[in-house]
Every structure is written in C-alpha cells, then in structure tokens.
C-alpha cells in the first residue's frame, strides 16, 4: 500500500474561525483502494476537514493535493470536478424528483434536440445501481425512500461524474475518485449497514479511496485499514487499524490534561428540584428519567444527535413531549409551556446563541430584560429606566465588556454575547438553570469565568443541568453525569465513576473495559 499513489493528500492544513483554531497543521494521505477512518471527539475538527475537502471551506494555510498536484477549491463544484464526493449523514435529495433525476442533477444527458434524454438518464441510473449491486427503481420519486436507500442514491449520484458518461472508461487511476462519508451509518439498521459496507468495499476494490467518519468503533475495525485520530483540531496519529485496540483509539481521542479546568466546589445536595420521569418524544428520545437536587450540577453528555438538547428543550417547554412527566419540587409542570416553566423557577440558556438565545438586532438592554419585562413593568408600563437599571446590574455582575447598553447585542464578541444570555436568565432569579453548551465558541478566559460562575451559583443552592459536548468540562463541573445515546439514557455516572473513557464508552455503546 505504501507505494500506491496518494489519491488525495491533506498537507499541513490549518483553518480558523475567528479566534478558534478548528484545524491546526493536520496532514494525512488517502490512497487508492483503501478505506480510511477519521475519528475524534465532537469538535475535534473532523467536520472542518470534510468541509475543506468538499470545497465548502478553504484552508487558511497548507494545501490539499489530488494525485500529487496542489488544488485550490473555490467551491463545492471544484471539489466535485476533482472527483471528490461527500455523503452527509442527512441525505440531500430533492424529494419530488425521481431517483434518476436526482442522480443526473446538474449533469443530465441530452438528446440531439437539447432535450433531457430520459431514456439515457434511466439507463445510466440502472447501470450505476447494477454496479453498486442494489435494486432501486430509477423512475420512483425520492420521497419515501428509506434513509439507507437515499444514501445509496447519493452514492450513485457521487459516482455519476461527467467522465462516467463513457461506461467503458473504467480506469480509476485516470480520475480521482474519493468518497467521503460523514457518519453515514448513524441512522441505519444493522442490515442496512451491512449492505452499505458491501457497496463501499466493492468501490474500494475498484480503486476508490474512502474516508469514513464514524463514532462506532466496531464499524471502523470491520471496514477500515487505516485510521487517523484527531484531537482539539490537531493530528494525533495515523495508523493501521489492526495495530490498535479500541481502548488505544479512545485513549488517543480523549487524552488531555485536566488540571487546567475548574473543578466544581463540593456542595451537600439539597432537596430534589427537578425530576424528569420517563420522558419520551416519538423518534427523538425515549424513557428519559433523572433528578437534579439543589446545589448539584448534573451534566447531560453524549454524542451530537443523542438527543440531549431536545430533552432539555422539552423539559423547559419550548418543545413538546409525548409522554412522561417533568416535576419541579414534586409538582407537575404543564408541558409545552415555557412561561409556566419560568414561573416555576426554571431558566434555559439554549445551545444556539444566535437563533435561540439572543435577538441580535435588539439592544443588550432589551435582550437582558426580555423574559422579565412583565415583572419590571409598573401598572403595566415600562417607564423610568427600570429596564436600563436591571440590565446594567446584571451586565456588571457578569463583567460583560460592552460599549452602551443600547448597542445591538450582535456587536459584542461571542464570549460577551454568552454573558448577556446568562445575564438574561440569571436576572429571572431561577432555582433551576439549564445551560446547553455554555462555553461553545468562546475564548478560554471567558470559559473559565463561566465555569467559576456556575460553580458559585451551585454553591448558592441553584440546581444546574449542563448539556455539554466537551468531556473535560463535563468531568470538571458535574456531580453526576447522565450519558445519552440515541435518545436513551445509556448510563448515569457519579463523579467518582466518571472518566473520559467511561463516558465515551457509554456514549458510543461500548462495554466499559474491566
């Protein structure tokens, strides 16, 4: 394999978003005829690599090479022209077009009268499906196909590059054929996964290079020859899968110095503030139960898509749920009613600051006082600077760096925006605070401040639920960790039981190593 041509090479690539370095100096080659796994925690930079290879992002420094030549993708079309196809977790087909039309999209065969040649289009689709060894009717609409079938259509679409018009030209070396699959198996059943793998293997044997991203280790050991491990945007190792155990891989994914983080102060837990009982929502989460006591920080851990945010949004009432109960101090809370949740002393600092947490065009002052405007009003009226005073108090308490309170909140930096969201909800004097990814996308200094704040709030008797994808944060802050996997509680770990490995094992559905 070593003497094979590197179909695609990522060479010393760096990409930053604002102050956050998502990928730093990552290099790895992808050879013809190999399936190569890319693994790492949430936020390790895998998706950024995929997006650069797909032509969505451009590397800041470093180069991408196809067949040994430097390439510079101005957009996804360039990447496609270079023979790189990406299959995302969620297929992106046009539901009302036929399967064949989807495959031919942007590349339709034409008759001599410059009309779309439907016969050729269907024949082409049949030929591609035959090559993949699957049976899907090319004339049926994409709507209603299973996720697995949709992915197969995506693969057929990916293989249907312009050069494929000449079916006799089967020489894979003449054109780069790279298939990038970003968690393709997340929504598939066991049988469907097997069928997908069979297709991937046959493509690999024909000389394609596959970059396979997955959180499921058994799939990696089954399908891939080599694995590249990333951590915090950096390249950790590229090795033969056969040389590593699952334990080795996990250790390299998470291994990190914990001492820099703020451990939470020990607090004797008080009464039960929140109890979530068998909460279910069809297709999203099932039978979720846990309790949070005053003074406790309970973390909801798990992979992206495990249903953590969805559970907490249902608890707060911005989303509905189908069955189960949410109780505050033993009293059942009206479902689907954020106002009732707020009245019961709950506050939710949501995951998406820009869409859910703040109103970017409104002033800092209005944002901070929005959930509390009715309390600040006298005789129903908001006169005399009551809002300004309240906003100033909280902006000050959180040491928010701002110009004027009347400035639009969108003018602040990410960290200060996060402080405004915290101020907005702490101003409601909650007894139960839910924070969803409280330190996402903010700088290290502010991160430490947020951690210190949460710790001192818990010490004052606040019950805190923290959803976080950052394991060090979870381990440093939480008294208990509820690990969700695929919408269910996979494990509940006490602080003593929790290690990076045990949380990751639970999140990925592996048995804890003895």
């Amino acid at each position: 394999m070593a003497e094979a041509i590197a179909l695609l090479e990522v060479h010393d690539v760096t990409k930053s978003f604002g102050a956050v370095a998502a990928v730093q100096g990552v290099s790895f080659p992808l050879y013809s005829g190999e399936a190569h796994a890319l693994v790492g925690e949430n936020g390790a930079g895998k998706s950024t690599i995929v997006k650069m290879l797909a032509g969505v992002h451009r590397p800041d420094t470093g180069t991408l090479r196809v067949n040994g030549a430097d390439v510079d993708f101005a957009g996804p079309a360039d990447a496609k022209a270079a023979g790189i196809a990406v299959i995302y977790q969620e297929p992106t087909l046009f539901p009302d077009l036929s399967v064949a039309e989807n495959i031919a999209m942007g590349n339709q065969p034409l008759t001599r009268l410059r009309q779309i040649d439907r016969k050729a289009m269907h024949a082409n689709a049949d030929r591609l499906f035959a090559r993949l060894g699957v049976h899907i009717d090319p004339t049926r609409p994409a709507r209603g196909l299973s996720i697995a079938d949709q992915q197969l259509v995506e693969i057929a679409k990916a293989l249907n590059l312009p050069a494929a018009e000449n079916p006799r030209n089967n020489q894979m070396t003449s054109e780069a054929r790279v298939l990038i699959m970003d968690e393709p198996t997340a929504a598939l059943s066991g049988v469907e996964v097997e069928r997908l793998f069979a297709v991937v293997r046959s493509l690999r044997d024909e000389g394609a290079a596959i970059l396979f991203i997955s959180h499921r280790f058994e799939e990696i050991t089954e399908l891939c020859e080599r694995v590249t491990i990333m951590r915090d945007g950096k390249h950790v190792a590229t090795e033969l899968v056969a040389d590593l155990t699952v334990d080795d891989m996990i250790r390299r994914m998470v291994g990190r110095d914990l001492s820099a983080l703020f451990p939470k102060q020990d607090v004797t837990p008080g009464e039960v503030m929140l109890s979530v009982e068998n909460l279910s929502r069809e297709g999203i989460f099932r039978d979720i139960s846990f309790e949070v006591r005053a003074g406790e920080i309970v973390a909801l851990a798990g992979l992206v898509g495990a249903g953590r945010s969805e559970v907490m949004q249902a608890v707060f009432g911005v989303d509905p749920y189908d069955s189960g109960a949410v109780k505050i101090r033993g009293k059942r809370l009206k479902p689907g009613n954020p106002r009732a949740a707020m009245a019961a002393g709950m506050a939710l600092v949501p995951e998406d600051r820009r869409q859910q947490g703040l109103i970017m065009d409104l002033s800092i002052e209005r944002n901070i006082t929005l959930p509390r405007a009715r309390k600040l009003a006298r005789l129903g009226l908001l006169f005399g600077g009551a809002e300004k005073r309240a906003a100033a108090t909280w902006a000050e308490k959180l040491q928010t760096k701002l110009g004027k309170l009347s400035d639009a909140v969108g003018t602040l930096s990410g960290g200060n925006q996060q402080k405004v969201v915290l101020a907005k909800w702490l101003a409601t004097a909650p007894q139960l605070l839910i924070v969803d990814e409280p330190t996402r996308g903010i700088d290290v200094g502010t991160k430490a401040e947020v951690h210190r704040l949460m710790s001192s709030l818990a010490a004052d008797g606040l019950a805190v639920v923290m959803v976080s994808s950052e394991l060090p944060e979870v381990l440093g802050m939480a008294d208990r960790i509820v690990v969700l996997r695929e919408g269910r509680v996979a494990a509940t770990l006490t602080r003593a039981e929790a290690t990076e490995e045990s949380v990751m094992y639970a999140a990925m559905g592996q048995e804890v190593a003895a």
Partner: protein
Amino acid sequence: MFKKLASWDSIIILLTVLVLIVASVVVDNFGTSRNFTFMVLDLMPIILVALPMTFIIITGEIDLSVASVLGLTSSLMGWLWNHDMAIQTIIPLCIVIGAVAGALNGFLITGLGLPSLAVTIGTLALYRGLAFVVLGDSAVADFPFNFTGWVTGTLGDGSIPNVLIPIIAMAVVFGVILHATPVGRALYAIGANAQAAHFSGIRVARTKLWLYVVSGAVSGLVGVLWTLRYSSARADNGAGLELAVVAAVLLGGVSIFGGKGSLPGVLAGVVLLTALQNALRLEDVSGQALNIVTGALLVLSVLLPNIVTTVRGNWQRRRLRQSAAQ
C-alpha cells in the same frame, strides 16, 4: 438601534413638516381651516387602520384584508339598518364582526401556520365578495343625522373635527403599548427573531392571533365611521385602502421584514401621504394620478431606509478602518 430609528423618524417628521409648509404657501386653499377638517377626515381611515397594521408588520406579518373588512362591515351596517336594527346595536355589532373576520385571519395564520400574505390576499377577496353578497350594488343612505353629523362635525364652532379626538386617543394608546409595555417589547422580539422570542417565554402565536383580532375590530370600526362620514353604506367602500395604509406604515420607517419601526414615524408617514394627496387634489390632479403618488411613495419608503442604512454602514466601516489604521 434606537438611535437609527430616531434618525429615520426625524427625517420623515421633517419631511412632513416641509410638505405641509410648502403646500400651505404654494397650494391655494391648502392652509384653510375648512381644508384642515377635510384632511383630518381623509386621514382618519388610514391612520386608524395603520395603528394595528404597524404592530402586525413589526411582528413580520401583514394584513391586506383590512379594506375588505371595512367594506364588509359597511355593507352589514346598511343591511342591518334596513332591517330596522337600532344604530346603537349595529355599531358595536359591526366592530365585533370585524374582530371575528380578523380572528379568522389569525387562526389561518397562527393555527394552521399559513403565510399571512397569502391568507390575507385570500380574505381580501373573500370579505369583499361577502360584502357584495350582503348589499349587492345598492347603497343605504338614510342613517340618523346625529350620528353622521357628529362624524363630519367640528368641536364647537371651531375647525377641529370631532373625529380627531378618537384618532388622538387611539394613537396614544397604541403608541404607549408599542413603546412602553411588555407587549410592545414582545412585538419587536417576535419580528426580529421569533424563535428566540419563543425561547424567552413569549407566546408568539397567541400574540399574533390577537393582533389580527384587533386589526379586524379596528377595520370594523373604521367601516362604521366611513359609512357615517359619507352617509352611505356600500359594498365597495374603502376599496384599495390597504395600499395607502401599508405605504404609510412603511414610509414611517417600519421594516417590512419586521422587528423595526416606531409609531411616531408611522403617524408622520400617514400625514405626509394624506397631505401630499390633498395638495395634489386641490391642484386638480386626477384620482388615477394620485394612485401613482401612493405607489411611488410605497416603493420609495422601502428603498430609502435601505439607502440610508447602506450609506451609514459604509460610513461607519470607513471610520472603523481609519481608527484601526491609526
């Protein structure tokens, strides 16, 4: 953001004052007390309907059915009067019917999640059609004089029209609600980011539903006032008024995308539009040509704030670059 609004408000208010001064000097009879009375009467339907319309547009929605609700209530008023119902019963009933018409809009938009533009274009046709079903092409004219006379009359012997009192009272109420109550805060929040408003405990759908009910009720009231002013209940009363109302609201600096705008600006927008039309009519410009003015103002009102924002943005960027260079 408030500063930006204030500056757009002042531009519009200044422009309005300018038009009023120029018109009184240049146009014969414009500055007379008689013309003032007429102007207020002309202004009445636009300004009253513009109040709830401002709220609706600030939340990012629209209500194009207002003029048809007006026509429907006018027709019903005539029909009920012909069927010997007391005028004291008819008037509140008309307002309630307006509110019901608005509630139907609100239900279709918030309950079924349909786009307000499509829904209210539909009910624009529907309610106007119903108005013709009720009254056909005929007109009802014999309303009691103590009602019609009050609407067209003035306070004492002066030139201040009676209707100015409800106009001012309602403008103050709507202005206070928009600018100094939690409801007002919620309206801006909904228009700027409905999801974040929902996450802040604001009842987005319910708030919008009520706005349509209020819009319908006010349109019903204006239907009554319109009928009394002209002593004529007709199915085609107020046809095309929605255009003038939306033009005035946008001219007043309310963003069609929601989240931005102020009531003083809208009031100035209404006065500007009415004064321009009044002055042109005194100069014997035809009714068709007046539509050109309304249409042109509508386009300008959307265009101008964008130009102002762009220019200001460029200017700020240049200043930032300069300060960064230093």
